[in-house]
């Protein structure tokens, strides 16, 4: 394609900065897409690898949710004739000097039949198994960890335990590869009975890994084990843990995919804009090419090839940015993983999946190509004779506008029809898309109309500058409409996400007010999501005896599997259940639901549990427990934000009966009047912190913690919003840069007849402000529509909670100065450019 090199390259080089702006949208869209999916995949791959490596030769794993099960289950498993070897496992992460360490508690006697530790051939990996077993402080660490922390045989490593920090002694070093490579090498193995003690688990195992006898198929073994253990146990191959995670992380992918789609959409308009401008600017050039014999098809191909290259460049940059983004997000997803599956995964290797790169490339190039279709067609239609005559640029034809309007109306109608079908997934998303499409199609006409409407207003403010600014918009709809559309889309994104965030914060605040009205919270860990450690029930009596304590409420939080998906189970005593039953009610009757739940016949479900599991009030939920399947009626539905996967509240008595587990994850403490929270906290710490690992949070700290979590959840969203708006602002810069080039002579005349520099700047600024105001008007309007869909999608596919529709007027008003300010900033550069340069040249410019 010689034309590309001869014709396009010099133009691109001359307008380098503008091209960079142009691809910003694609960069953003691709970056978010690649970043989120790469992070997901990387974490998943690392997670899978950890699972595989830890699983060793284990073919099946027996689990019963987070609380695990009694040791006796192991004998039951071993007694089955199909099982050749079974070994118990406790898996937990603890922090050791800033890094998260995966602790694998195994039965050192028999575990080697399932796992290889690779100690033997190491120079310094000499282990004395007898000493290792005899001393509960024995630890076997991976070579990676040993190197990183400078550990050798006999080194001391302090770790958090139920009884506070204790020093462990390295008595074995595992060679890299195999098991030692799990969890990115941050792995330590200890005796399972020592681990039980360390994590306060009592005589319970998390899991039993097993291998089947030769000739026993996986399905057969699974079936036999299930039959023997009962429905409360999960018997699955190790790999299925990864599959479950995949399903969970998909939710996050949906949210980010919508954002990247928007970014690409915004990018598409900026590209359209740039190409439309390029075609008008290069009319003469196109005319010459045509006069020299280039066919229409050649011209069209030239522009399409340019756009494809643009898309490719954007994709490439986007992938680079995406990989950086993935690194940041991997940590976040990893912590989610730890919360949901108990296996944290540190930052794994971030590697780009070629398939993903291909998809991103296709997305980027396609977006760019679609954006360039109309400009390329217009370029092909350029009349060589007219193009070579000096004169005004052609403006958008009325017919084209009418066609667009017709399409827009069709889209509006279709999306209204889609609304009628409400919550059906495809229809909802289609309706969403159509509404956005309609807005996009209508935006040029509305832009023109609004520009005409504000012309008198601008003229009143500044007769010359205002009028010229408005006229500039009216005269060059191509220059403006793409920018306005991009601005509209990004502002709509701000409004909808902002509205969503606002609604979430409000709902969470309301929930916290009821659900977390306690004075102090006693937990075995410094945060509320980690459930590595469990406190003994007996601590409750001790806490009651502290002066100033009026009431102590006990809650055991565990992650379990209901219908194959993870759910948070909160087993609460009488007082705590009463508190939970007063959370914002969605369905049911507070007193009745409390009564049924206390009786052990029912469970209170969170709104998102009901939505995500398609259940309703009165339905029976099957909760697997080690003593069999519990059938609980949904006695009530409340709005609860404890967990994104859904929460079930049951009575603690029922839990203890079914799980034979009396551990407690949090004690809620209510004070007698006249006692201060800090004072009682100190008393509690004085009484217990020497014996047991406890943390005491005041109400404000708990709320602060939840606020931080919420902020974290929205943090990424804010970044995306910021970048989307930035891209749109860059669009303004782009439009203005072109505008001052187009209007060089006009601005020259203005200066020649006495316009001072500030007056020239003002007209540019006003043009920017006008673009801002029009984009704002359209964006705030589209935002209202988009917020509706966002609320629906959030409820349906993301958190399962109906946040309600509340237009964020605060944000909308807040945007006005922000966008005007941003527009002004965007206009600074072009404004300066406009007053620089030779007047003489400007006047002769054509």
């Amino acid at each position: 394609m010689m034309l590309l090199r001869l014709i396009s390259w010099p133009y691109a080089r001359k307008h380098g900065f503008r091209w960079l702006l142009t691809i910003a949208g694609i960069v953003l869209g691709v970056a978010v897409f690649v970043g989120m999916h790469t992070a997901n995949q990387s974490v998943l791959a690392a997670f899978q690898q950890t699972i595989d490596r830890i699983a060793g030769k284990a073919q099946l794993q027996v689990t019963a949710g987070e609380p695990g099960f009694d040791e006796g289950v192991l004998d039951k498993v071993r007694s089955l004739p199909e099982v050749s070897a079974a070994a118990p496992v406790i898996e937990a992460t603890v922090s050791a000097g800033g890094t998260n360490l995966l602790i694998l508690g195994v039965d050192m006697l028999g575990d080697r039949s399932l796992r290889t530790y690779d100690l033997e051939n190491s120079e310094d990996g000499i282990d004395d198994p007898l000493v290792f077993l005899a001393q509960p402080d024995s630890l076997m660490v991976s070579k990676t960890l040993a190197d990183r922390k400078g550990l050798t045989i006999g080194s001391r490593l302090p770790l958090d335990t139920m009884a506070g920090q204790e020093v462990f002694i390295v008595r074995g070093i595992m060679q890299p590869g195999g098991l030692a490579g799990a969890f990115g090498g941050d792995l330590a193995v200890m005796d399972i009975y020592a681990a039980e003690k360390m994590f306060g688990r009592g005589k319970r195992f998390d899991r039993v890994d097993l291998a089947l006898k030769e000739g026993v198929s996986l399905d057969e073994g699974e079936e036999k084990l299930k039959a023997s253990l009962g429905p409360g146990f999960q018997v699955e191959p190790p790999s299925s843990r990864g599959q479950q995670f995949e399903a969970t992380s998909r939710v996050y992918a949906i949210a980010s995919d919508i954002t990247s789609l928007f970014a690409l959409f915004i990018g598409m308009f900026i590209i359209y804009n740039t190409f439309a401008i390029a075609v008008t600017q290069r009319r003469a050039e196109i005319g010459i090419l045509r006069a020299l014999g280039a066919t229409r098809a050649q011209i069209r191909t030239l522009f399409l090839a340019e756009s494809a290259l643009t898309g490719l460049a954007g994709t490439a940059l986007g992938i680079v940015a995406g990989l950086a983004l993935a690194r940041a997000m991997a940590g976040y997803i990893g912590s989610l993983l730890q919360d949901v599956y108990g296996v944290a995964q540190g930052a794994g290797e971030i590697t780009l999946d070629p398939k993903l790169a291909l998809a991103a490339g296709a997305m980027g190039v396609l977006t760019s190509l679609v954006a360039a279709v109309i400009p390329a067609r217009n370029a092909a239609r350029v009349d060589p004779v007219k193009a070579l005559q000096k004169g005004q640029y052609q403006s958008l034809s009325e017919g084209e506008n009418r066609a667009r309007r017709r399409w827009a109306i069709a889209c509006v109608c279709a999306s209204l029809v889609a609304l009628g079908f409400g919550r059906i997934g495809v229809v909802l998303y289609a309706g969403f898309l159509l509404a956005v499409l309609a807005a996009v199609l209508l935006s040029p006409a509305v832009t023109l109309w609004l520009a005409r409407a504000i012309r008198p207003v601008l003229a009143k403010v500044r007769p010359v500058e205002g009028t010229l600014a408005a006229d500039s918009l009216i005269q060059a709809p191509r220059r403006t409409s793409g920018t306005v559309a991009a601005l509209m889309l990004s502002l709509a994104l701000v409004v909808s996400l902002g509205g969503l965030a606002r609604a979430s914060y409000d709902a969470i605040a309301e929930w916290m007010h009821v659900s977390l009205n306690l004075d102090l919270l006693v937990t075995p860990v410094e945060n509320l999501t980690n459930r590595t450690f469990v406190l003994p029930e007996s601590l409750g009596a001790g806490l009651r005896a502290i002066p100033g304590v009026a009431d102590v409420q006990m809650v055991r939080g565990v992650r379990i599997q209901v219908n194959g998906s993870p759910v948070m189970l909160l087993a609460a005593d009488h007082g705590a259940l009463m508190r939970f039953s007063h959370q914002p009610l969605v369905a049911g009757h507070p007193a009745r639901m409390l009564e049924q739940t206390l009786a052990g016949a029912g469970a209170i479900a969170s709104e998102n549990f009901v939505t995500l599991h398609g259940a309703k009030l009165g339905d029976s939920v099957e909760i697997p427990s080690p003593s069999g399947m519990l059938h609980m009626r949904i006695a009530g539905v409340v709005r609860d934000f404890t967990d994104q996967q859904g929460t079930l509240f049951i009575s603690r008595d029922a839990y203890v009966r079914a799980w034979n587990d009396t551990g407690i994850t949090s004690f809620g403490i209510f004070l007698k009047p006249g006692f201060s929270a800090p004072g009682v906290r100190q008393a509690i710490l004085n009484a217990f912190s020497a014996k047991s690992r406890i943390f005491v949070m005041t109400n404000a700290e708990v709320r602060g913690y939840i606020d931080r979590l919420t902020n974290q959840w929205f943090g990424l969203t804010y970044v995306q919003i910021a970048v989307a708006v930035l891209v749109a602002i860059l669009g303004i810069v782009n439009a203005l840069t072109v505008s001052i080039t187009d209007r060089r002579r006009e601005l020259g005349v203005l200066q020649a007849v006495g316009g001072l520099r500030w007056q020239i700047r003002h007209t540019i600024w006003m043009e920017a402000a006008a673009i801002g105001v029009i984009g704002l008007a359209l964006g705030l309007g589209l935002g209202a529509v988009q917020l509706y869909y966002s609320v629906q999608v959030t409820q349906r596919d993301i958190i399962g909670i109906d946040l309600g529709y509340a237009y964020p007027f605060g944000i909308a008003f807040g945007l006005l100065p922000v966008i005007l300010g941003a527009a002004w900033l965007a206009a600074l550069g072009p404004g300066e450019q406009a007053v620089r340069g030779s007047l003489v040249e400007a006047l002769e410019y054509e």
Binding site: R78, L109, G110, S113, N121, I126, P129
Partner: protein, 252 residues
């Protein structure tokens, strides 16, 4: 009757005449018979495949006491480590059954709980030594089938195949023809020769020929364990109650 049991029992002397393998083994068993016994000894394991010169870091030394009562096949024994300090108190109770795998319990004072050793785990090494948990099990002479594979250097070479489930496919027993003591054992698993045990320093103690030194070589890992019996007593007044799980916990 098997390796460590034999290691611990050592061997007794006797006279032989035309016998088949089974008869020889019964005679071996008979000559070693005691009501009870108590050994005190030292165990040296060399955990480095490159060999362990004296004072090598890879040479691990432990002191232990072994007590046993009861007849072959249904005896009970407790192996208790007495030194060094970091392993002191760790004990293994073995209750043998004539027609089933033995029950074994491990007691770890620092962890504060006993733990049953599962049958599946019996072929794993016993705490870094070169014998397995199965090697600690005592099997009656009737639990093998025997074929005499030849005679040399005044020894019978007897091929013994276990009747019960075992980590070994078969072993060769080398029995001294004059005093019916084990001189050497070679055990094979599916992969080939896995372990060899050599008995030396024989001494007649209370009428029983006893080897004071036993060397075990893991031929696959190329590591070796040596044991020396410092003190041997037979027919002591030991009580049955001392060989229970409860006793395991109490007796420190």
């Amino acid at each position: 009757m098997n390796k460590i049991a034999i290691i611990l029992l050592a061997a007794a002397a006797g006279v032989a005449w035309g016998q088949d393998g089974h008869q020889i083994m019964l005679e071996v068993q008979k000559r070693q018979h005691t009501n009870s016994m108590r050994y005190e000894g030292t165990l040296y394991s060399c955990t480095s495949p490159k060999g362990c010169p004296a004072n090598s870091k890879a040479l691990v030394t432990k002191r232990w006491v072994y007590e046993r009562i009861g007849d072959f096949g249904k005896s009970k024994g407790i192996l208790r480590f007495t030194g060094p300090a970091e392993v002191k108190g760790v004990a293994l109770l073995i209750v043998n059954h004539p027609d089933a795998a033995s029950d074994q319990w491990l007691w770890r004072p620092a962890v504060g709980r006993e733990q049953k050793v599962a049958v599946q785990d019996r072929s794993t090494r016993f705490f870094g030594t070169d014998f397995t948990f199965e090697d600690l099990e005592e099997r009656d002479a009737d639990q093998y089938t025997y074929t005499i594979d030849g005679e040399m250097n005044g020894q019978w070479k007897i091929d013994a195949k276990p009747k019960k489930a075992s980590g070994y496919t078969h072993c060769y027993f080398y029995i001294d023809k004059t005093n019916y003591t084990f001189q050497r054992i070679e055990c094979y698993n599916k992969k080939g020769l896995a372990r060899t045990i050599d008995y030396t320093d024989f001494e007649m103690i209370q009428g029983i020929w006893t080897a004071r030194s036993v060397g075990v070589i893991d031929t696959i890992r190329k590591t070796r364990t040596a044991m020396h019996y410092d003190k041997v007593d037979y027919n002591l007044p030991l009580k049955d109650e001392a060989f229970t799980v409860e006793a395991l916990r109490i007796a420190e």
